[in-house]
Subunit: 319 residues, 2 copies
C-alpha cells in the first residue's frame, strides 16, 4: 500500500473518530470513556481471519461491515446500546489502497447506521492473512444485562427473524447451486447480518436469558442450557424457516447447526407472550416461539409427533 | 492442539477470569464493567504478530507477558490504574498444548503482578502466524489523564529508567555479538518491558504531557511535539544510557530511534524539578531531565557543544 501507517490513520481512520472526544483524535496512548451515571459498560471482542471468517476476495466494504455487525450482535444479546469500538488490524504489506479505502467506507457506513464511533486501536503488518479484531463498547442501566444464565425450566424459547438464511448463503458461496434471484438475498444475509439492537434493548426486563445465534441454533441454545442449568425442547415445525429454504436439500441441518444467523434466541415466562407479540409488531420483526426449557440438560429437537430428530453436527467450532 | 476451543477456554482461560465478576466466567456474549463513581475508563488495544512483534520461537510465557505489558504501558502513559483485559487469539491449528499452557502461565503471572484479570475475548484458528490482540482497561479520576497534547514551550523533558536497552537486546537477538553476561539483561529488557504504572499514576497533576517510548525516543517525543504544538531539544549527553551500552557500536542510533523501551517520556514545568526528584527517590526509579520543549516544531538532538546530531532513522514504522 502507498499509505504509510500514519497517513492511513490520519487520512482514513481519524475521520471515523470525529464526534468521539474520548478517542483523542486517535493521537494518544489510549482512549477515554465515561459511562453515563448509573450505567454499566458492556464489552465484547471478536477476531476475524481472512480465509476463515471471510473470503479473502470478499469486498472490503462487506468485511468491515460484518466485523462491526457481529460485535454489535454481542451487544444486542446483552441488551446494550452501542457506544464505540476499538480496531486492531493486521494487514499484509501488499494490501491495496483501494482495499483500505473500501474497508474504511464499510466502517463508516456501519458506524453511522448503528450510532457508534471509532475510539482507538492498532495497525500492524502481517506476513499472514488479513486479521481483524474489534472490541465494541456498549452501555446499559446497571443490573439489566441479558445473560445466558437466567433461564428457568418451563420458559418459552423464542427466536427473532428467520433462521438458516445466512448459513445457506455460505453454502451457496461454497458452490451450492441455487437460482441467482433466490441466492442473492441469502448471500446478503451471510455478508451483512443484522444486529438486533432494538430488540435486545426492548427485551431488558422481559427475557430471562438471551444469546445471539452465531454458532448455530442447537449449539447456542446449548450454551443457554449449560449456563442456566436447564434442558430444552425445540419443535422443528415451529422454526421460522422460509418456504424457499425448505425446498433446499439438507435445509434442516443448515437451520439447526449452520450458524451465522445473528438472530436473538431468548427465553421468557409464558406470561409474557402477549408482551412479546406486541413487541414483534412494534419492531416489525418476527418473534417466534420455538419450544420450551425443561428440567434437565441438553437440547432436543422434535418433530410434530414428538419424535427426536438426530442432530448431525453440534454447531460451528472455532478451533 | 488437543484442546478444543471450549476445553481451552474452560480449563486454561477461565481461571484467569476468577475474581472478575463482570467476566461472567467467560461464558456470556460480552463482559460487564462498572467503573467506580467519578472515574473514567481508559482503553488501549495493541496487536502482536509472530515473526513481526515477537519471534515465533520465543517462549510462550514471554510472549504472553509482553503482550500484556506493552498494553499496560499505554495505561501507564495515561496515568491509569489497570482493571482488566480482553484477549483475541488467532492461533495456527497445529499449536502445541504446551505452548498454550505456557502462554496462559505468562498471562497469569503478569496479571497477578499488575493486579488485573481477564474479562473476555475470542479464540480463532488462522492459517497464518499466531496473532494476538489485547484490549486493556484502566481507570483514573475524571479529568486527570496524562495526554500527549499538554506540553508548553519551555517545559522540562524527562524520561524514566535507562534508554536503549531493549532495542540493544533486540539487536543481540538478531545477531549482534555481545558477551553473554552482558547480553542477558538486555535481552530480558526486550522480552519483559516494565510498564511504569506507579510512575504514571504519581505524575497525575505533575506531568503536562506523557507518552511511553515504544517507537523510539525521537519518534515518540515527536508525537508529543505534534500533539502539543511545540518543538523539542534533547541533549545527548544527558540521556540515561549505561556505560555498557555506550561501548557498543551505533549505540546512539539504538538509543535515539530503537524503540521498545517502554519507559515514560514526559514534560513538566521547571518549578516541579524538586517534586520529580523526590518522586524518583520514592519510586526508586531514575528520572532524568534530558532537554526542554521550545516554541516551534520538530525534535533536535544536540551534543555538549550545542551542535545538532543528525538523526538517521525516525523510529519504528509499524507498517
Amino acid at each position: 500500500m502507498s499509505y504509510g501507517e500514519f497517513a492511513f490513520i490520519d487520512r482514513l481512520l481519524r475521520p471515523l473518530a470525529a464526534g468521539m472526544p474520548g478517542a483523542l483524535e486517535l493521537g494518544d496512548d489510549a482512549a477515554l470513556v465515561t459511562p453515563p451515571a448509573g450505567r454499566e459498560l458492556v464489552l465484547a471482542k471478536d477476531a476475524l481471519v481472512a480465509g476463515i471468517h471471510f473470503f479473502a476476495e470478499d469486498p472490503a466494504i462487506l468485511v468491515a461491515g460484518k466485523a462491526l455487525r457481529v460485535n454489535l450482535s454481542d451487544l444486542a444479546a446483552m441488551g446494550a446500546e452501542p457506544l464505540g469500538y476499538l480496531l486492531a488490524l493486521a494487514l499484509p504489506r501488499d494490501v491495496e489502497d483501494r482495499w483500505l479505502e473500501d474497508f474504511v467506507a464499510g466502517l463508516r457506513e456501519t458506524q453511522e447506521r448503528f450510532g457508534l464511533g471509532l475510539l482507538g486501536g492498532d495497525t500492524v503488518a502481517t506476513p499472514g492473512p488479513a486479521t481483524l479484531s474489534v472490541t465494541v463498547l456498549g452501555q446499559l442501566p446497571e443490573g439489566t444485562a441479558l445473560l445466558r444464565s437466567g433461564a428457568r425450566p418451563g420458559d418459552d424459547i423464542w427466536v427473532s427473524g428467520r433462521l438458516g438464511e445466512a448459513a445457506m448463503g455460505l453454502r451457496i458461496l461454497r458452490g451450492l447451486a441455487v437460482p441467482d434471484e433466490e441466492a442473492m438475498p441469502l448471500v446478503a444475509r451471510y455478508h451483512t447480518p443484522e444486529p438486533r439492537l432494538d430488540l435486545g434493548r426492548a427485551l431488558r426486563g422481559i427475557a430471562r436469558a438471551a444469546i445471539d445465534i452465531s454458532d448455530g441454533l442447537v449449539a447456542d441454545l446449548g450454551h443457554i442450557c449449560r449456563r442456566s442449568g436447564v434442558g430444552a425442547i425445540v419443535e422443528l415445525d415451529r422454526l421460522p424457516v422460509s418456504e424457499l429454504l425448505r425446498g433446499i436439500p439438507r435445509w434442516r441441518e443448515t437451520v439447526l447447526t449452520g450458524g451465522d444467523d445473528y438472530e436473538l434466541l431468548f427465553t421468557a415466562d409464558a406470561g409474557d407472550r402477549t408482551a412479546i407479540a406486541a413487541l414483534s409488531r412494534t419492531l416489525d420483526l418476527p418473534l417466534t416461539r420455538i419450544g420450551r426449557t425443561t428440567v434437565g440438560e441438553g437440547v432436543r429437537v422434535v418433530d410434530a409427533a414428538g419424535r427426536d430428530i438426530p442432530i448431525v453436527a453440534s454447531g460451528w467450532r472455532h478451533f
